[in-house]
Every structure is written in structure tokens, then in C-alpha cells.
Subunit: 330 residues, 2 copies
């Protein structure tokens, strides 16, 4: 059987089962935004890794080398944010295609460093390789987390409120306006797509708030991430269509091309906002106390697994298929 | 300027200068076998990453998927060994080429897991990507090290004795017999090339021995690694040709093809033995106390930088050019 017949999530399950182990230092293993291991009596380290492959994750026609460096680190820092971890350092594997110049190489590392400096993450090492194929980047980032405080995907319970930071849809809008040759139509969205912002500004506040039960970052799209939370937590969920926060540029772009704005909210990947659940008895307090932070929206609630994932719109309820971006079928 | 004109070591210097920072948690940054960061008052973590690119680092004509998985982790564990760190866990980025089957994918992870189990290293996470090009693997491994005890490349002083574990030449021999279609001529060497053994069995003993001043693993070849130790320690070195330990199969193979056995000792890469320096007043004790361990050879001594790197043979002394494998010029 070929890999695209098995699909990304099938492959992840195979890795999970092949690599099962009971190492005393591992607190969280395969299957979350980051792994967590113990390093001392009160200290844990979260570690995550993300690949960017040319022609799959990025296109040098749209992105500068500097933005590419930023993004390569930012997507990892978003995974640390999703665990409630504070970045320490990253190691960077780079195999540039044969066409890169020395200046482009320097710009890539300058973008990496710019992102690292913005979020207190040192670039501590790495490896370089030539390649006969497309460029390949793999970054692994490490962050500190207090013992037992890492937020997993698996802690949500029926009844918990589902929240999301910021607004969705910008990243897909950015890609589409770039592809259509009209980037000026949605400048914020283009920036968001090329240089995503990990939500480290709010992640430590959220992870420190009593009653938070699970968290994940939105890299594959809201519905796909809801699928992960529900699967790992053994729940279903019900989303209110009109509560999904959609960026204004995404609304305008959708309307200009005759698309549905809600689709941008539900399916846009690479948003890097945080999706989390909170005990419903704490939701009023969370909203009140987070008023000074960037927007946090309550978009629905967790329900028993048997109900699946549903979207409640005006007068109707539909099942949602949590099919995010599958790297092997995509 | 294109990357192959700058060369791997020029590129590493550029990364080092672009990513310079003074993060309070970073104990050892870019330029050693692994980076080291603090996680608590008495605890540090070493982290390293290594790339394996198809067509550059491996050829699926010679290697099984299981051996490839082993090697992808083993080369990283060797870097941890070179720091004196004890493995904890690794994260694995894999972009398999389109030809991999599900069974081959499983074999790869089975080899990874086999290596991890052999050395107490959990496979804690990773990322998967498709790729339109050759297969690409990047592993990042983490290990624990006691505060201030990581062994750098930069601590050697003129007068220090230079030691190496095991015997050299087998890995190059293994590759050459595979390429010549006569693997049965050097079975141990083939095994060594396909499934290298990180010297974690002796690294903690070595790093705990008083008087050790620097350590590195032999991934690019003895002379190349001597070049790294000398550059980072600001010394030269003098190697005794007849003291370089050369594997019997390498001697036999060299002789059968009319080559020089010493070249296999000096230039064979992917040996993954440990090269280290020790205060000369401690060398007798080191030899006496290490008698129960696998062979440790004293191959020369550090000298002032002005003398460069020299090889003393019978009746003559030659300068050695520390040109290891350069990924961009190679």
C-alpha cells in the first residue's frame, strides 16, 4: 500500500504504535502539539518539530527568504504556545536547493533570528545539507513548562466551552490574493500568511487560567483541529456558525469571489490562533479577565462523542467532516 | 555567490554570526556537537540535529529501511555521546519520497525504535511531509547532562594527549565493498557503515574522568575532526601515524585494492568513534582505568597553533589538510 492511500493520519497512528514506550522522563509523547519531558523535580521541557518543504509548504514565487526564515521558526513557536510552554531555543536543519545564493541564505537566517529575537528563542544549533531536490527545512523548538502544567489535546469534557483567539480566515485569504496576483486587496492577510504570529502573547495567560482543559493551535484549519481535540478527548462538539470570528479581509475577499466567508473561518489553515476548552463554570470569568487581551471568542461547546462534530447555523444543524489538510492525500 | 562557492564551513560561520545571541539559558550555542541549555539549577539539556538526504547521505540500493531508521537516530546519539550527555528523547521529521510503501514506512520506524530502545532514547514526536523530491530525514535528539559537565570542542591545550575510541576505517570500507558489489569481503564494515554504533557505552565514563579537556565524534573523518578541535581550541596537533587504530578489514581491503590503510584511518567518515583530549598528567591513569573498556588509543598530542596539524611517520613529518566532507562542495 502506498503512503497516499494510508494518509497522513493513518501514518501518524502507525508511528505512534511503532514508537510506543515507557521512558520515565516522557510526560507527553507522540500525538500532541509538542512532546514534554522531565528534566528536574519541578521542570519540564516541551519539544516540537515542523517541516517546510518547497513546493508543498512554501513557494519562493510569493515569499522572501527572510519571511521564510521567520515562518520556519514561527510555526514551531505556535506549537509551544499551544502547550503553554515558554520558548528557550531551536535547532534548524536546512537543505537549500541548488539555486540559493549566499545572500538568500543569509536572508533566511536573518528572518529566523528576527523571529527568535521577537519571542526570546535562541537559535542554538542545526545542520546543513545539500540536496538534489527542492529545499527542505526542519526546525525543532524547545520551551520550558512548569511541572504538570502543559496543556494537552486530551483534557476536554462534554459541557466545556470552546474558545478561539483572534480572527480566522486571513491566512487562506492571503494565499488566494497572492495566487490571484492581487495582494493589495488584502495586505494584512498576505502578511499573516507569509509571517504568521505565534500567540505567545496570550498562551501563558491562558495556560495559567484555572479551568482550561485542553489547547491546540490552528495549523490545519479550525474544523480539523476540533477533530483532533474531540478524538483525543473522546468527545464531540457543537459549533455556533455565527460565533466563528472571521477577519474582515476574509469576508470581503470571499464576497468578491462569490465564496462563503464561513468557509474561510472553518477551513483556513496556517492561522496559528489558539483553540482551547474551558470548564463552563469558569467561562464568564475568563471573558471578563481576558478583556484586556486580544479578542477571545466562545464558539461552541464540547458534547458527548456520540453527537460528532456539528455546526449550528440559523435554523439548522449540520455535521462537519474534520478533514484538514492531509499531506499525503492533499 | 552560490552556496557551493562558500562551502559548508563558510556557511556555518555565516549562521553562527547571524544567530549570535545572549540568551540566559544557553550554555553552549552554535558550533559544537550539540547545543546545551539550562533547565534548572543543576540540570542541563544537550540538543543536536542531523539531516539524512537521499542521494547525499544514503542510497536505498544498499540500505534497508530498518537500517536507515537506526542510522537516522544513531548519528544524533553519537553527537550526544560526544557531549557526555545521556539520551532522553528524539523528534523525527520525515519526508519520504513518493515511492515508499506503507511497509517500508513501518520498517523505517521499527529501525528508529530499535536504536532508541538500545540506548534509552524515546521517540517522543515528529512531523511528516510529502515531498516531490528525494526522501529527507531530520532527527533532533535531546539528552541530559550535569551542570557544567558537557564536553566542548574548545577546551584542549597544547601538551594534552589525543585519544580515540575503537578502530577506524571500517565505515569507508563498508561503503566501498557495497559499491564494488563485494559486501561479503568485509561484513563487519558493512554493518558498521549501515548501522553505526554511537559510543554511549564509554562516553559517560570518559566525560566523568578528571582531566578530559575536549571531545568530538568522528562523523566527517579523523583529520577533519582534529581540524575542528584545533580551530575551536586554538591549538595545533601532532599525530603519530603508527598509533592510528585501523580496523583489520580496512587494512585488508586497502591492500586488496592497492590503497593505503592509513588513509582509511585518517579520512574515513561516519565512524562515530569518540575523539578526545586529556591532560597529559592524567593519561597513564586513563589508560590503566580504561583497560576494561573497549580499546582507547593515544594517537598524538596537542601543540601550539602555529605548528598546524602534522602527521609524524617513520622518519618524516607532513602537514595534514583538515578537509573533511563538505556538503556543498562535496
Amino acid at each position: 500500500m502506498l503512503l497516499d492511500e494510508i494518509g497522513e493520519f493513518g501514518l501518524i497512528e502507525r508511528v505512534r504504535s511503532a514508537c510506543k514506550s515507557h521512558h520515565p522522563a516522557i510526560v507527553i509523547g507522540i500525538g500532541d502539539d509538542a512532546a514534554v519531558f522531565k528534566t528536574g523535580p519541578d521542570q519540564e521541557v516541551a519539544v516540537t518539530t515542523d517541516i517546510l518543504t518547497e513546493g508543498v509548504h512554501f513557494n519562493l514565487k510569493y515569499t522572501s527568504f527572510d519571511s521564510l526564515g521567520w515562518k520556519a521558526l514561527a510555526v514551531n513557536l505556535s506549537d509551544l504556545a499551544a502547550m503553554g510552554a515558554k520558548p528557550i531555543c531551536a535547532v534548524v536543519s536546512l537543505a537549500p536547493s541548488r539555486t540559493w545564493s549566499g545572500d538568500q541564505f543569509d536572508e533566511f537566517y536573518s528572518g529566523l533570528k528576527r523571529c527568535g529575537s521577537a519571542y526570546g528563542c535562541a537559535i542554538a544549533g542545526g545542520d546543513l545539507s545539500r540536496t538534489p531536490g527542492p529545499s527542505f527545512i526542519s526546525v525543532a523548538a524547545m520551551g520550558s513548562v512548569r511541572r504538570g502544567r502543559a496543556l494537552k489535546r486530551s483534557g476536554a469534557k462534554p459541557g466545556d466551552a470552546i474558545c478561539v483567539t483572534g480572527e480566522l480566515g486571513g491566512s487562506r485569504t492571503g494565499l488566494e490574493v497572492l495566487e490571484s496576483g492581487r495582494p493589495e486587496q488584502a495586505g494584512k492577510s498576505v502578511k499573516r500568511f507569509l509571517e504568521p504570529v505565534p500567540r505567545l502573547d496570550v498562551s501563558s495567560w491562558i495556560s495559567g487560567f484555572r479551568g482550561i482543559t485542553s489547547m491546540i493551535d490552528i495549523s490545519d484549519g479550525l474544523v480539523s483541529e476540533l477533530g483532533h481535540l474531540c478524538r483525543e478527548s473522546a468527545t464531540g462538539c457543537e459549533i455556533q456558525a455565527d460565533a466563528v470570528p472571521i477577519a474582515e479581509e476574509a469576508r470581503n475577499w470571499a464576497s468578491s469571489i462569490g465564496g462563503e466567508a464561513l468557509d474561510y473561518g472553518l477551513y483556513s489553515g496556517e492561522e496559528y490562533e489558539l483553540l482551547f476548552t474551558v470548564d463552563s463554570r469558569r467561562i464568564d470569568r475568563l471573558i471578563a479577565e481576558s478583556a484586556g487581551l486580544n479578542r477571545i471568542s466562545v464558539i461552541g461547546k464540547m458534547v458527548p462523542a456520540v453527537h460528532g462534530i456539528t455546526l449550528a447555523g440559523p435554523g439548522e444543524k449540520n455535521n462537519l467532516e474534520p478533514s484538514g489538510w492531509d499531506h499525503f492525500r492533499g
